[in-house]
Symmetry: C2
Subunit: 420 residues, 2 copies
């Protein structure tokens, strides 16, 4: 570090017990009998969760701004408040059968960073902010990552406001009802740099016995729907040579989705998660099969190459089998590299703190992936048990959460003291 | 033929227009707007259909017996009425979206044989009978082929009587309600020989441009349920090497089901008709897949060999992938060879009549397959358009139906004049 720092600041550590206690207290709002949390975006429970977190922020001396999509920014002033804030955050809405840590950890880790700075009377050059973004999960309203998506200009505020839940209630009305329709235009809030701490939601760190994942970026994603059409016929009276079995063509493509991922290591991923067979009767040769294809890789070039190979294979299956094969892209999310300065800040902090760490990619979407379009961004992953998330049994070790929070503290301090 | 026959009997032909007219008249009962028939077993419509057919039989001078499962036997006396009758028949119940020909053709072809004999004043040595068997389709009550199954002792009368539909109505009560609970004990009715004319319900005859299928027997059938268990996980954060994707293991076994059939020609058949993926979400690696396996072949040895090969393959997939694979047999129908005398009588009649003909096997179940356990049996197939059946668009050409009926006439005459 080439700027003056508070003497002894390298010995600064967060209060892991306080972080854990805050996580457990927030998890009581919408807590489920199985130990999970159901706190859907813009519900009464979400309002209670938001109020609790903002109350803690105000107790910690922070000021609060809300924007028109309900994103909340909690600010701790710096020495030079003309500098854009060094920001962290995540989301506090959950899946219907969500856990205590997904999103909530990133927000409360940010609060714990501020509390730690307060405990030790440390002033930063740039202000520090902690954000929570509206409706990351997308369980009640689509699109997912709504607050950060509007903030980053991925889609418009009007589009997000008009989204409805199953009861026909709009995001706009629900924001007003719970008192979180702010006045600031989304995206006008300056961001000097952004860090997000999150449970991994995957098995890599646990598999490697590593505490900190230094996230280098988010995978590009391509979603397709595939339909294979053959000829429905009776299983008994139809000899093999006179069949047009849609499922047999479909299984070849399903296997290629995995094979193409294995041909594009280390980050290629291919998944068929959804499949339906018609008419789905034991003694009827399937006349039609529909299934989903999910392709991911660390660059758009790589994932587009994977998609091209799957398409070519599907065309070959159609030609060889006489089946009709339709492949339609239904969604596309670009790959997002995080900023080298932020990635290195995370790696440096982990190393300085003596935690085992490794570079990883984020296979799932996160608010950070959108914020990275506007400002230098990095993420910190910590292990979660068996890689399980979006599940009431989601679990993380207190020492891992503390470690991730310490990394967040020091990565943010490095950027905040540099004033950018 | 080594027994005396009526002079000139080889020139005898059925009245194809009368047969067609009867088929069309019966098809009006339960007729659907799309040109099909919905006449489920033991409904009011079934009663109307039964009454119509039995009325025609009485007009043709036949006597009627009903047994305790509602099977109806329409009898035209012979010269020696101590001889067991030469019988034909099929069923008149239909699928919910059934056609006009499945089953109905076999019953009305039998009636047309009798009408033709009446027209020409021909007396047979043995009596001639035409039967319709209760609930062949199994759409409303299971098991399928209920009437002929009870008749052949495949399961008990009490078991069949206790079967219920979706409203909880029993076969026993419905038989009584529609007036078809007869007095005869099923299976006590003598059968000298049995022939059944039926649309093929498959594409083989049409593919060969052949009019008459000389059915040599029914395929043995084995049904399995297969469950593959892996580990449900997020598609994004889970690298390929740390996955236990149940669908990928399942697709290998699904392909083997077809491969094993191709390794056991000419009659091996393998079908996966039904499949379900759990949790069936686009971005979740499947944790469990269940699917059906339908294996068929012309002998029990062959179909059991096929089953053994699929089981061994499934065990290999489990071992190689670390997935759990469970394979459970849920049904088994033995292969049934038809009686050489009856098969040859059908072939001789087709040849004498100058119709193109070929040996075929029956891949689907038919009442004849059960009756064959009690008496020498043969079947006659005629083509149906595109092999489609169990569908309102089921179609057959009048000249093919006439040809099949002429073959039935002469095969029955050969046996009836021989008195066995």
């Amino acid at each position: 570090m080439d700027t003056p720092t508070t003497p002894g600041i390298e010995h600064l550590r967060v209060n892991g017990e306080r972080l854990w206690a805050s996580l457990m207290e927030l998890a009581r709002i919408g807590g489920t009998p199985k130990g999970g949390v159901c706190r859907l975006a813009l519900t009464e429970l979400d309002r209670q969760g938001r109020d609790l977190v903002l109350g803690w922020a105000r107790e910690a001396g922070m000021s609060v701004t809300i924007d028109k999509i309900g994103n909340a920014f909690m600010r701790r002033a710096g020495r030079d408040n003309r500098l854009p804030p060094i920001m962290t955050g995540s989301h506090i809405d959950t899946q219907p059968t969500g856990g205590k840590f997904d999103g909530n950890y990133g927000v409360l880790a940010g609060l714990e960073v501020v509390r730690t700075l307060n405990d030790h009377g440390i002033e930063t050059e740039a202000p520090i902010e902690v954000a929570f973004w509206t409706n990351e999960e997308g369980s009640r309203f689509v699109p997912v990552m709504m607050g950060s998506g509007v903030f980053a200009g991925a889609f418009t505020l009007a589009h997000a406001h008009a989204a409805t839940d199953l009861d026909g209630k709009t995001v706009r009305d629900e924001l007003e009802r719970i008192g979180y329709m702010g006045s600031e235009a989304p995206g006008e809030h300056p961001v000097g740099a952004y860090f997000e701490a999150h449970i991994e939601q995957g098995p890599v760190l646990e598999d490697h016995g590593t505490t900190i994942g230094v996230v280098e970026g988010g995978l590009g994603i391509r979603w397709f729907d595939c339909t294979v059409v053959g000829m429905e016929a009776h299983a008994g009276p139809t000899p093999m040579g006179l069949r047009r079995d849609a499922l047999q063509g479909a299984t070849r493509i399903m296997q290629e989705v995995v094979a193409v991922a294995l041909r594009h290591p280390p980050d290629g991923r291919g998944t068929v998660g959804m499949a339906q067979v018609f008419p789905n009767s034991r003694n009827v040769i399937p006349g039609r099969v529909t299934f989903s294809i999910d392709l991911r890789n660390s660059s758009d070039e790589r994932v587009d190459q994977m998609a091209a190979e799957v398409k070519a294979f599907a065309a070959r299956v159609a030609q060889e089998s006489g089946l009709e094969v339709r492949l339609e892209q239904v969604s596309s999310y670009p790959a997002q590299q995080f900023h080298p300065d932020c990635v290195q800040a995370v790696a440096r902090a982990a190393k300085a703190l003596g935690y085992s760490h490794m570079p990883v990619v984020s296979g799932a979407g996160h608010d950070a992936v959108y914020v990275a379009r506007l400002a230098p961004t990095g993420m910190i992953f910590v292990p979660c048990k068996d890689g399980i998330s979006h599940n009431e049994i989601e679990q993380a070790e207190p020492e891992h959460l503390t470690a991730g929070c310490n990394v967040l503290l020091h990565a943010m301090l490095e950027r905040a003291q540099q004033g950018r």
